[in-house]
């Protein structure tokens, strides 16, 4: 502890703090540009100069540690003079083009020039001008405005883990930019916009559309990953202009992923459906709500009368709110069907009968940054859950060791100690080796089904080392499964092995699914939810598209893109007698739906998301839905009323939430692993001739909203959405880069260009899901190439 005097006020403060931290805590504001509490101290802007008694010159508060007996004055003549001098120099080369700058009105440089600068300028010479490179579709640059605080540089280097911005040149020739004007590819690049204290980096999708003082700010929750990042949705005249992060140390700190920041573009875009539409004799017609709902209800009744209630199925988007998912499954069950699911890209449902808790991280989000050991199974945590990736990166920088078992060589922003990258069919074996190694070390018998997965070579040395790493980590260990595991043909096996490993080592067990999957699970949007005699099991998402039902209720999904087996889903929709599509977009479902009901996007409805910490976060709508669009829960409620289904008298989404909470029986304890269920698993069989397919979904094609967010679609990350193979494999097969090759998969034959991608293991081909390209091939375990 140290005793200091700050502007005459006596303070008892912790040692090892910088003056600026102490002042912030005491509510004394010191101006700053380069200092940021989440970044390293660089002390280059000199704006935070203060007077310290006994020091010969003013000292930068951000880089001056407190010492006992220190007397600091932040507004004395000396401090004020130093600050004014700094400001005068900063403004020498600043263009002062505030009227045409998007930062105007919320600009620290503008604010501090008024509060801490001189009232006029003595500079009459020429100002410098700096060219502004195009660094991608998300961040706009105007580098003449840059004051070289290097916050963006330090963010990339220290937080995001890839240094993409840098300071080239020196003196008054310094300029901040990317290497030779390359575009930035960080999944967190939008944070640089927030960090930039001037108008040098601004948001490309939302610039020039509003002044900050005109905007209304609404709190909301991000729908695209399992964190439920806290948002500030900012609107002007009932239109979302931009989305910013709302600080929450427990969840997203002050950061936001680009996905959550820029997905609003779809919502404010042109592809919104304004009125309900029905198709009669093959022609689309706008109708009023009453007409549309009557049409929908009649259609459902017709299907039920002809083929029974079980011939209807509901597919629900994992980005839906808890309330929407709940009402949707309740409506379907009210009709007498049990076919309801939100897991459109899962293909192994063998463990469905187990009573499992909603997917989650298995530990608090914040605690992920203090783990000592982590095992990632099919998880590209950096792109799938960017802010969890950030936490894990911090853990690695603090000395944690990470092992990855996956089917793609993901470009992580932290170093891996063990990288067990191999074909998808090898993943169960690799994980079983680790499980057996852990069991061996603990002196636990290895169950027969696990034994069966091992081949004659037994346990590899690396598996032993991974086991040792996890055992050493103990409770500070984390086992995390991602999309590559959940969409794996043997997902249940991977889950059970991973769960067993976590049980034996004491590590947390995490299943990181997309969006509000946890909420949808809690809401019962599963075919086996609270199964009983009166509530028998229904069909899961895969069965629903394979069995070609007579009627579908689509809530926020486009099955031809969202399903793993895209072609089967497309066929099922086209063949169905009656399809109701409830979604916000005009182009969704046009090809096969009979009625499209315009629903509200996530910024337009109240609702709740359950995040990976199993925390319920409710939010209100920020804007009214456009045209006649209505919140999803209201549409479902009225539809249920018209179908005479009981228990739909909700007058608010809160009431729905109350009912979900009241009906939640919890889980009867972890039922994993149940080895019986995977007893049939065989060790890997190497297939000749055919290529094994590796499924991946671009982080920007996860749901119908993201697919319509134009700027995200043209980022570099999204460009990886191509059929690809490793270049040695292409050479072996004699395929030239970008040459079209006929590929046959589960949905037929298709001719597609193949590009090289070093991430793909030998003998494999990478199939991008949720794309037109992936449509024929999605869901294939193996494909055959026809090469002449």
């Amino acid at each position: 502890m140290a005793q200091i005097e700050l502007n005459g006020q006596q303070l008892e403060v912790q040692d090892n703090q910088m003056l600026i931290q102490v002042a912030d805590a005491a509510g004394v504001y010191i101006p700053r540009f380069c200092y940021h509490e989440k970044l390293s101290v660089s002390a280059n802007c000199r704006m935070c100069l203060v007077e310290v008694e006994g020091a010969p010159k003013p000292l930068p508060a951000c880089a001056t540690p407190v010492t006992d007996g220190m007397k600091v004055k932040t507004r004395s003549a000396i401090a004020r003079d130093a600050q004014q001098g700094t400001m005068e120099f900063l403004l020498i080369n600043h263009p002062l083009d505030c009227p045409i700058c998007d930062q105007g009105g919320e600009c620290p440089l503008q604010d501090q020039a008024v509060s801490y600068g001189k009232d006029n300028s003595r500079y009459h010479e020429e100002k410098r001008a700096v060219s502004s490179p195009d660094i991608g579709p998300l961040v706009a640059t105007a580098m003449t405005r840059c004051i070289h605080c290097t916050r963006c540089v330090r963010f990339g280097e220290e937080l995001a883990g890839i240094m993409e911005m840098g300071a080239a040149g020196r003196g008054d020739h310094t300029s901040i930019g990317t290497y030779l004007g390359e575009t930035i590819e960080s999944e967190l690049s939008g944070n640089m916009i927030d960090l930039c204290p001037v108008g040098a980096l601004t948001s490309k999708p939302s610039r020039f559309s509003a002044r900050s003082w005109e905007l209304l700010s609404h709190n909301s929750i991000a729908p695209h990953d399992c964190l439920g990042s806290n948002l500030k949705v900012q609107t002007l005249r009932n239109k979302v202009i931009r989305v910013l992060s709302s600080e929450n140390e427990r969840i997203n700190e002050c950061w936001l992923s680009d996905r959550d920041r820029f997905s609003f573009e779809a919502i404010s875009g042109n592809d919104r459906l304004m009125t309900p539409m029905v198709r009669e004799q093959g022609r689309w017609r706008s109708v009023d709500w009453h007409g549309a709902l009557e049409f929908a209800v009649e259609g459902l009744r017709r299907v039920i009368a002809k083929q029974g209630a079980e011939s209807i199925g509901a597919l629900i988007s994992a980005s839906s709110t808890l309330e929407e998912a709940y009402l949707c499954q309740k409506l379907i069950r009210g009709l007498g069907s049990h076919n309801v699911d939100h897991r459109l890209q899962q293909q192994d449902f063998r463990d469905d009968q187990l009573d499992q808790p909603p997917p989650g991280l298995g530990r608090s989000i914040a605690s992920l940054e203090s783990v000592k050991a982590a095992l990632l199974v099919g998880s590209n945590i950096r792109k799938e859950q960017p802010l969890l990736g950030l936490r894990l990166r911090k853990a690695v920088l603090g000395g944690a060791e990470v092992a990855s078992i996956s089917a793609l060589d993901y470009a992580f922003n932290f170093s891996l100690r063990f990288n067990q990258m191999d074909a998808p069919s090898a993943m169960p074996k690799k994980l079983a080796e680790v499980a057996a190694a852990v069991a061996k070390a603990k002196g636990v018998a290895v169950p027969e089904p696990v034994e069966q997965l091992l081949d004659s070579n037994g346990i590899s040395g690396e598996a032993d080392e991974i086991a040792e790493m996890l055992l050493k980590g103990g409770q500070d260990g984390a086992v995390i499964l991602g999309f590559g595991a959940l969409s794996h043909p043997r997902a249940a096996t991977l889950k059970m092995l991973a769960h067993w490993i976590s049980e034996l080592t004491g590590a947390s067990f995490g299943l990181l699914d997309r969006g509000n999957s946890a909420g949808a699970t809690l809401a019962g949007s599963l075919p086996l939810h609270q199964q009983s005699e009166s509530n028998p099991a229904g069909l899961n998402a895969k069965e629903m598209v394979r069995e070609k039902l007579a009627g579908y209720l689509l809530f926020g999904v486009e099955p031809e893109l969202d399903s793993l087996e895209q072609s089967a889903a497309q066929e099922a929709m086209v063949k169905a007698d009656f399809v109701i599509s409830i979604n916000p977009y005009s182009s969704a479902g046009r090809e096969y739906a009979d009625v499209i009901l315009p629903s509200a996007a996530f910024t337009e409805t109240s609702g709740t998301h359950l995040n990976c910490e199993h925390q319920l976060q409710s939010f209100e709508g920020a804007v009214e839905p456009p045209g006649d669009a209505r919140p999803g829960w209201k549409i479902l409620r009225v539809m249920a009323n018209m179908l005479d289904i009981d228990g739909f008298d909700f007058i608010s989404s809160e009431e729905v939430l109350e009912e979900v909470k009241a009906g939640d029986r919890g889980t009867t304890g972890a039922q994993l692993p149940d080895w019986e269920l995977i007893a049939g698993d065989k060790p890997r069989v190497i297939q000749d001739q055919r290529l094994e397919s590796v499924n991946e979904i671009s982080p920007y094609r996860l749901d119908s909203t993201l697919r319509r967010a134009e700027s995200l679609q043209i980022t570099r990350d999204n460009q990886l959405s191509k059929v690809s193979m490793s270049s040695p494999e292409m050479e072996r097969l004699g395929i030239e880069e970008n040459r079209a090759v006929v590929i046959s998969g589960i949905g037929g034959r298709v001719s597609l260009p193949i590009i090289s991608d070093q991430r793909v293991p030998a003998g494999c081909i990478h199939i991008p899901l949720a794309t037109e390209e992936g449509q024929v091939l999605g869901g294939s375990s193996f494909v055959t190439l026809e090469i002449d």
Partner: protein, 156 residues
Amino acid sequence: MLSSESLAKIDLEIGNYPAEHKEAAVMAALRIVQEEQGWLSGETIRDIATYLEIPPIRAYEVATFYSMYELEETGRHRIEVCTNISCMLRGSDGVVSHIEERLGIKVGETTADGRYTLREVECLGACVGAPMMQVGNGYYEKLTTESIDAILDGLE
């Protein structure tokens, strides 16, 4: 692509620093490659960065900070005439104009055949021999029209 000779020299430099600080050799690596290739192209800087396991922008920051790294292609011979105070008092203006006339280029330019680049530089610390110039790594002092001609004639 970096030549194996350059890589061998870079490895020697890397050896001067702790194994986990390969990036410490960045300045030496840039110099070594420039000596071989004459200048540092964007691709070259990227290759050096990749070899030292640092982001390309990090190497670029260093390359742009120091003025003796050449980021643009220059003539085979870089003629750098000091025009700082001592040399100026001893007639560096005449040196510059003579070379300009002889080569048919202005300060800052390169001859069409790619042989010479002419530049003005600040004090090179050889005031005792003013006026002076540097060609490549060599200093030439007490310049006269004749000696300049002789020096230029001697360059291949």
